[in-house]
Amino acid sequence: MSCDVTKNDFARMIAGAAAAIRAQHTMLSELDCASGDGDHGATMLRAVEKLEKAFAPGGSDDLKTCLREAGWSVLGVDGGASSSLLGVFFGGMADAAATDLAAMFEAGLAALRKQTKAQPGDKTMVDALVPAILAMRAADDGGKSLRETLHDAAAAAHTGAEATRHLTARYGRAKFLGEKTRGHLDPGAASVSLMFAGFYQGLSHSKGESGNA
């Protein structure tokens, strides 16, 4: 049994991600000062605002329509690498053949990976995204609930992000710093980890009507 996800579930996940990013955007910009240009937190703030808007009450009830709209509007954040990649990611989720959570996230990841050659180990958001989505697939295949699935994904994203500390950047602005990036968390990976933590929190704690939790 795979976890089907409703628009409403997704809206709560997005709200959780937005809260997590809002709480930590200063830290995200500080991370980006160490390895980039210091704007990552601001970009992520704008990105989650767009996501919330795409899922706000009054919009479409169709999850795929909302995701397409979310992707396009995150692309429009004009915030450099991360907003383009995240825009592609969310927009790509709408192209999933199936409607279960893991399939949608896999479709998002596939779309994102068409735009960047970065592999896990290259110290980018991919280091958090890939393990998170692998964990999602495993939980899903193992018949876990939506809540459990998001829990596992968040844990994997966190581990993946933390591991970027020991890596050398090979993509984005940070690659020009090479070895100097060692010791610093990658900002994009940190954001992804925060978003996945937020997905889980959003679904767990808010009093929604979904029966999947």
Binding site: L75, G76, G79, S84
Partner: protein, 331 residues
């Protein structure tokens, strides 16, 4: 040190600066659609449109070069951040006068991501667009993909813009831009950091007696940190690296551009230029053209970019062609 900038709400910086830019240059440019910077009087039908994209906070770059003889439309992003594909696509539609569009992209991760997405979308719409990437920062190593686009955008905008203005077809404009791109090399140096205008954070740290060669356009630190040197020594080190990389030989003709990062004075840029000229003379290399000023800045960062480009007769003619871009007027 506290940031001391004349701004209002940080989140309004880009919108307000574009508004002020447009209001102060009503003869040359205007804002259209989603804050795209376009010429006040669009180009004649049947000519190639020239479009670029890039982060804000680097004024006059990049929108200061929209005007007759240079760009048709520029897509400004947020501070130091590439604009997304949706507005780039809008710009390309706008600059399509029936002869296709040349899309000039500086090699930075965010810009390239947006540009690639834009190209996919434009192709899906059946638009006739060619994209050229500038990547002349030799600090990135030998792989062209690792070389960032710095002030070299300036000659590329200029010669490609002039070719488009002359009515050359898209393929020819593209070839001119690529030729200019292949023949230029840049190296940047920083001595003092800038603050990010939205966050107030210092972008990098440098010791009181340090400078860094290979600094990126957005304050991303490079790898050539060393003790502060005199103007002459700095010019020597950087020019030697550039001449070697471009394999310049005696008798060849160069364009030299020195671009101030923001707080470095024109006084210093002239002192540096003097040494560059001396070295070129000593090696029998001809200084064909020169340009010294602030074309792309990084807030109040101190430092400069030194660019050299091998010129031929066609490139020189196009470089000399008229322009009414607000920050690059050529008679």
């Amino acid at each position: 040190m506290k940031m001391k900038k004349f701004i209002n709400q940080p989140e309004n910086i880009v919108a307000e600066l574009l508004e002020g830019f447009a209001l102060s240059h009503p003869q040359q440019i205007r804002l259209v659609g989603n804050n795209l910077v376009a010429r006040a009087a669009p180009k004649a039908k049947g000519k190639v449109g020239v479009v670029t994209l890039g982060g804000s906070g680097h004024e006059p770059g990049l929108s200061g070069f929209v005007g007759e003889g240079m760009l048709d439309v520029s897509v400004p992003g947020e501070i130091f951040a590439a604009p997304g594909a949706p507005r780039c696509l809008e710009a390309i539609r706008l600059a399509d006068y029936g002869a296709g569009v040349l899309f000039i992209v500086l090699n930075h991760a965010g810009d390239v991501l947006s540009a690639n997405l834009t190209m996919e979308m434009a192709k899906r719409e059946g638009l006739n667009v060619k994209m050229t990437l500038t990547h002349e920062d030799i600090s990135g190593g030998t792989n062209p993909e690792d070389r960032r686009g710095l002030v070299g955008f300036l000659p590329v905008y200029k010669v490609a813009g002039a070719a488009a203005e002359e009515g050359q077809p898209l393929d020819a404009c593209f070839e001119i831009a690529e030729r200019m791109g292949r023949n230029m090399r840049t190296l940047a140096v920083a001595v003092q950091t800038a603050t990010h205008p939205s966050t107030g954070h210092a972008i990098f740290e440098l010791g009181d007696d340090e400078m860094e060669i290979g600094m990126g356009q957005h304050g991303e630190a490079g790898t050539g940190r060393m003790k502060l040197k005199s103007a002459d020594e700095t010019a020597e080190i950087m020019l030697e690296m550039l001449l070697k990389d471009l394999e310049v030989k005696a008798g060849e003709e160069l364009l030299v551009v020195i671009n101030g990062a923001g707080a470095t004075t024109l006084m210093e840029l002239f002192i540096l230029f003097r040494r560059v000229d001396q070295i070129l003379k000593a090696r029998g290399i001809k200084l064909a053209r020169a340009k010294v000023g602030e074309f792309i800045t990084t807030q109040e960062q101190a430092g400069f970019q030194l660019m050299i480009a091998r010129m031929d007769q066609v490139l020189l003619r196009l470089w000399d062609a008229p322009s009414n871009a607000p920050y690059f007027v050529v008679r």
